[in-house]
């Protein structure tokens, strides 16, 4: 069992029903906001006009355990988008959550989608 000090945890999200998280207007273009789903906190990054317009990753920083990832800076390198952790600037690839600077760190990825102005959390993709 993970021993987070919060009422949050970063256990894999296994819910099987689509869940409405928030509205599109809650998102901030090219930046992040955080949303709650039960004990999960999800950082949502909105990239209007890009091939993938919305990414959802855990709001919990894998390195420190602090709920801060939605406040990291969005970066791009060679066409790939990543998130720079706000506390110590580790870079995490948004598509799969892999940390680019430390192979032992990974950010949980959530299957989120933007549909008709609404942000949905969908069951995890296999």
């Amino acid at each position: 069992m993970s021993q987070l000090a919060y009422a949050l945890d970063n256990q894999p999200c296994v819910q099987q029903q689509p869940v409405l998280l928030c509205q599109q207007q809650d998102l901030v273009p090219f930046s992040g906001v955080a949303a709650r789903f039960g004990r999960h906190a999800i950082a949502l990054f909105y990239l209007p006009g890009e091939e993938v317009e919305l990414y959802g990753v855990s709001h919990i920083d894998p390195a420190s355990g602090a709920p801060v990832m939605a406040h990291g800076l969005l970066g791009e390198s060679k066409g790939e988008f990543y998130l720079a952790a706000p506390l110590h600037k580790q870079q995490y690839r948004l598509s799969d959550g892999q940390c680019l600077s430390d192979s032992t760190l990974k950010l949980q990825v959530f299957n989120v989608q933007l549909q008709h102005g609404q942000v949905w959390l969908l069951p995890p993709m296999e």
Binding site: S2, Q3, V28, P29, F30, S31, A34, A35, K78, A84
Partner: protein, 843 residues
């Protein structure tokens, strides 16, 4: 260590070479076996004689001092000031001063030299002075009060320096030289002639071929010089600078072997005829040669220190006497055999009377080696020529190309062509090989090389060459020395700043679309956000800038390790009313914020959640506070002492000045944070010398110090200007900050910014004080724009519901309880739990 094995090492003389000897000796492991005692004739510890005339632009003798006063104490060196040695007894192995006798096991003579005063009748009249020590400068300065005309007798290197000093003192300056030309030692006839005409243009009258026969009372001025050709010149001050003579008296009296024309004879180990006595510097005679420059003296000091510690691998084998300097603003360089005295040597000359440039090469008979050179008017050729001459590098087929003016094909001697043995810095004897070794050991930049090898920290003449070698070697090692900001912009921060300003660019998207590529990253986004703020000072949270800001700028607070934030209201100058203090306390109490006094004389409140920030700030603003910008790359605080308001020592109102400065520059975004302080007297309780901008009160106004910092690599600020009025102080700081904002790299503090400016502090003075780039008015106007556009960012956020919404922790849930973040009590306050996460069970 027991006293029985401690040996006595006495050093006579605490000039530049004597001081270098102490430092070299102490750096050796064996030094611990010795007790070091140093005798100085002067009343102050060693100072920089090379830059003596800085005394007149700075009026601060302390700036010239080579080592801090604590150096001697910390290293257990007994420094006897104003205690010249009167006699040496080699039998008893003692030296005698007016105060006591001292035993020695080994003795080092570093007595230097004294100025030669030609035997002219009347040379002992009042206002007949010499130019050698700080005491001499004080005498010249005193004598120049109420004086109009000053004459220097002697047109050599030091004489021209002295003429510059007289000019700086506001006198009509003349130089009288016995030889037919100026600087006869270093320059040939054509070079001397050109130097003369250039110096005359600068308002210094030059009289060559003049022998002074006597000095009598003047009629118009205080004194009259009578020349052998019957002409006369009236003056108020006379400075003799007709050469130096070795200070060899105590050594000669003790029976050490002297040279025919003075000096104490030494061997390659710097030992005199008595192997327990060493001589170094200007008092030492090596193979019939005296060395009146600091670099050879330093080499002797190193040799003597090594030999004394049993390292016989070092020896002194002569020294290069090449010189490069700026005399009264004129470039002059002399390398090796400048006069072409080598049998069979041939010369190539370039002379341009229009541009005021003269260059000569002296070549070996076969035209393949460079033996010497003379440069007047443009020293940019010097470094390359010196490397050819010192390292015996074969000349190109057409050696004249080395001195002809800029043609595109000028074959520069690139850093790659230099052998590892090539000496780059002769002051500290640093070779290219030593630079490479330092780079191999992990040093990554020019500033690091300077601090670890000391290269380019002596006379600074090799700075440009060092830079090119370091850059070349770094790129050879695969270290990118590209100045590109990141993969999205092929520009340095400085270039981007100019693009933003020139093209009037207001947003990141405009900039990356017109001058960059891709989508940006965590490097370029905050850097560009800072540039945009520095140019236009729009609120950093205005819509187009929101996604660019680092977390701290996004939420106008400092994120702490557990994801909560700290809050720092501005307390200008550290002055606060009890009522304001109570209101901070009330807020802290209400929100259970951990409260701590900062180093910058304000109060930091920790542990606020994102959702609490606007609530906390609403209360603070209602109580009259503004944001403190603790989160921004901008002015943090202006620390102050109470100054003349309360302190019995204070001479100016430092608190009022600190408040004025803090309110003037608050909110201005810069490449990095900026700290300032104002002290009310020289006791310096506000520690202004450790700040980017330090202000210290004097009886007459304010002294301005710049480019200091604390932190990981502390650096004392440099004295920049003295006795400023309030208006001068503000305009210098305006210009300095704006110049820093315009030209520094991303996240570069002022200290390393200045270190990386070619020309360093002097260049900065030229730009800021003397307006050498003609930028002063523009810099002040740009600063005025930033000051005029200031707004409290927290006030702006609170007034805008959309911005305020950003402070909701979750877009779809209520604010989290603070307990979710995990706090535990300690000493009556709440602190984060020590461990937030169990590493083993993370993903």
């Amino acid at each position: 260590m027991t006293t029985s094995i401690t040996k006595q090492l006495l050093v006579i003389g605490n000039g530049m070479v004597g001081q270098h000897f102490i430092e070299q000796f102490l750096s050796r492991a064996d030094a611990a076996q010795w007790q070091l005692t140093v005798f100085a004739g002067e009343d102050r510890p060693a100072y920089d004689r090379v830059h003596l005339s800085d005394y007149f632009s700075d009026a601060d003798a302390g700036k010239l001092q080579l080592a801090a006063d604590s150096f001697y104490r910390d290293n257990d060196v007994s420094l006897k000031l104003s205690e010249p040695v009167l006699a040496i007894d080699r039998e008893a192995k003692t030296v005698t001063t007016a105060k006591a006798r001292y035993f020695y096991d080994k003795l080092v003579l570093a007595t230097g030299s004294y100025p030669f005063v030609p035997p002219i009748a009347g040379n002992d009249k009042p206002h007949c002075l010499v130019y050698r020590t700080i005491a001499d400068l004080e005498a010249i300065s005193a004598s120049s009060k109420d004086a109009k005309v000053g004459v220097v007798i002697g047109g050599g290197l030091l004489g021209l320096e002295a003429a510059n000093a007289l000019k700086l003192l506001g006198l009509e300056a003349h130089v009288v030289e016995f030889a037919p030309q100026l600087m006869p030692v270093q320059l040939d006839k054509d070079g001397g002639e050109l130097l003369r005409s250039k110096i005359a243009q600068l308002g210094v009258s030059v009289h060559t071929d003049k022998a002074t026969s006597s000095i009598s009372e003047g009629t118009e001025q205080r004194l009259q010089l009578n020349f052998s050709d019957g002409s006369v010149l009236q003056t108020d001050v006379i400075v003799f600078s007709a050469g130096i003579r070795p200070q060899d008296q105590p050594g000669k009296d003790a029976g050490l072997e002297p040279g025919a024309r003075g000096g104490i004879v030494i061997n390659n180990q710097c030992q005199t005829s008595d192997s327990d006595i060493y001589a170094i510097g200007e008092c030492a005679l090596w193979q019939g040669q005296l060395f009146g420059l600091v670099a050879p003296g330093y080499q002797m000091a190193r040799t003597a220190a090594a030999v004394l510690c049993g390292d016989s691998s070092q020896s002194f084998t002569g020294a290069d006497m090449s010189t490069k300097l700026k005399l009264l603003g004129v470039d002059v360089g002399s390398i090796g055999d400048a006069h072409g005295r080598t049998p069979g040597s041939i010369s190539l000359r370039y002379r341009n009377d229009l541009a005021g440039e003269y260059r000569k090469l002296v070549l070996s008979a076969d035209g393949k080696q460079l033996l010497g050179a003379v440069l007047v008017g443009d020293n940019s050729y010097y470094d390359t020529l010196l490397q050819y001459a010192l390292n015996g590098i074969a000349l190109p087929a057409e050696p004249q190309s080395l001195i002809l003016p800029q043609s595109n094909s000028k074959p520069l001697l690139g850093p790659a062509a230099l052998p590892d043995s090539a000496t780059l810095c002769s002051c500290h004897n640093v070779s290219k090989g030593a630079i490479c070794a330092a780079l191999d050991s992990g040093v990554q930049d020019l500033a690091g090389i300077k601090s670890c090898t000391k290269a380019a920290t002596g006379c600074g003449g090799c700075a440009a060459l060092l830079k090119s070698v370091v850059e070349h070697e770094l790129s050879a090692r695969g270290v990118a020395v590209s100045t590109d900001l990141c993969e999205h912009f092929s520009y340095s921060r400085q270039q981007l700043y100019h693009l933003v300003r020139v093209d009037g660019i207001k947003t990141f998207n405009e900039l990356i679309n017109s001058h960059g590529r891709g989508h940006g990253c965590e490097i370029c986004k905050p850097a560009v956000a800072s540039i945009l703020a520095s140019c236009w000072n729009e609120p950093v949270l205005a819509k187009p800038h929101v996604a660019l800001q680092d977390t701290n700028d996004t939420f106008l607070a400092n994120m702490q390790k557990n994801g909560t934030y700290s809050v720092v209201p501005r307390i200008p100058g550290g002055e606060i009313t009890p009522a304001m203090l109570i209101s901070i306390g009330k807020v802290a109490e209400q929100y259970q914020l951990y409260t701590k006094i900062t180093g910058g004389q304000r109060i930091d409140l920790f542990g606020a959640t994102l959702d609490q920030l606007p609530l906390i700030w609403q209360q603070l603003i209602d109580a009259g506070f503004e944001t403190g910008h603790a989160y921004g790359k901008s002015l943090r605080t202006v620390k102050s002492c109470v100054g003349s308001t309360w302190c019995r020592y204070g001479v100016q109102d430092s608190v009022s000045m600190a408040i004025l400065l803090e309110n003037r520059y608050k909110g201005v975004r810069a490449p990095h944070k900026i700290k300032m302080a104002v002290s009310g007297c020289t006791r310096e309780c506000a520690e202004a010398q450790s700040k980017d901008v330090g202000v210290i009160a004097t009886e007459n106004g304010w002294n301005l110090y710049v480019c200091g910092n604390g932190g990981m690599k502390p650096r004392h600020a440099d004295l920049f200007a003295t006795d400023l009025t309030d208006e001068q102080l503000l305009s210098y700081i305006d210009r300095l900050l704006m110049f820093y904002i315009k030209t520094a790299d991303r996240l570069q503090r002022t200290a390393s910014w200045m270190n990386n400016l070619e020309g360093g502090l002097d260049y900065l003075r030229e730009v800021i004080i003397h307006d050498s780039l003609g930028l002063a008015a523009e810099l002040e106007a740009q600063m005025q724009l930033l000051i005029g556009n200031y707004q409290c960012e927290w006030q702006t956020v609170l007034n805008d519901p959309a911005q305020r919404a950003r402070f909701n922790s979750y877009v779809n849930a209520a604010a989290p309880a603070r307990s979710e973040f995990g706090f535990v009590p300690e000493r009556g306050q709440l602190i984060p739990t020590r461990q937030l996460i169990n590493k083993e069970t993370t993903l």
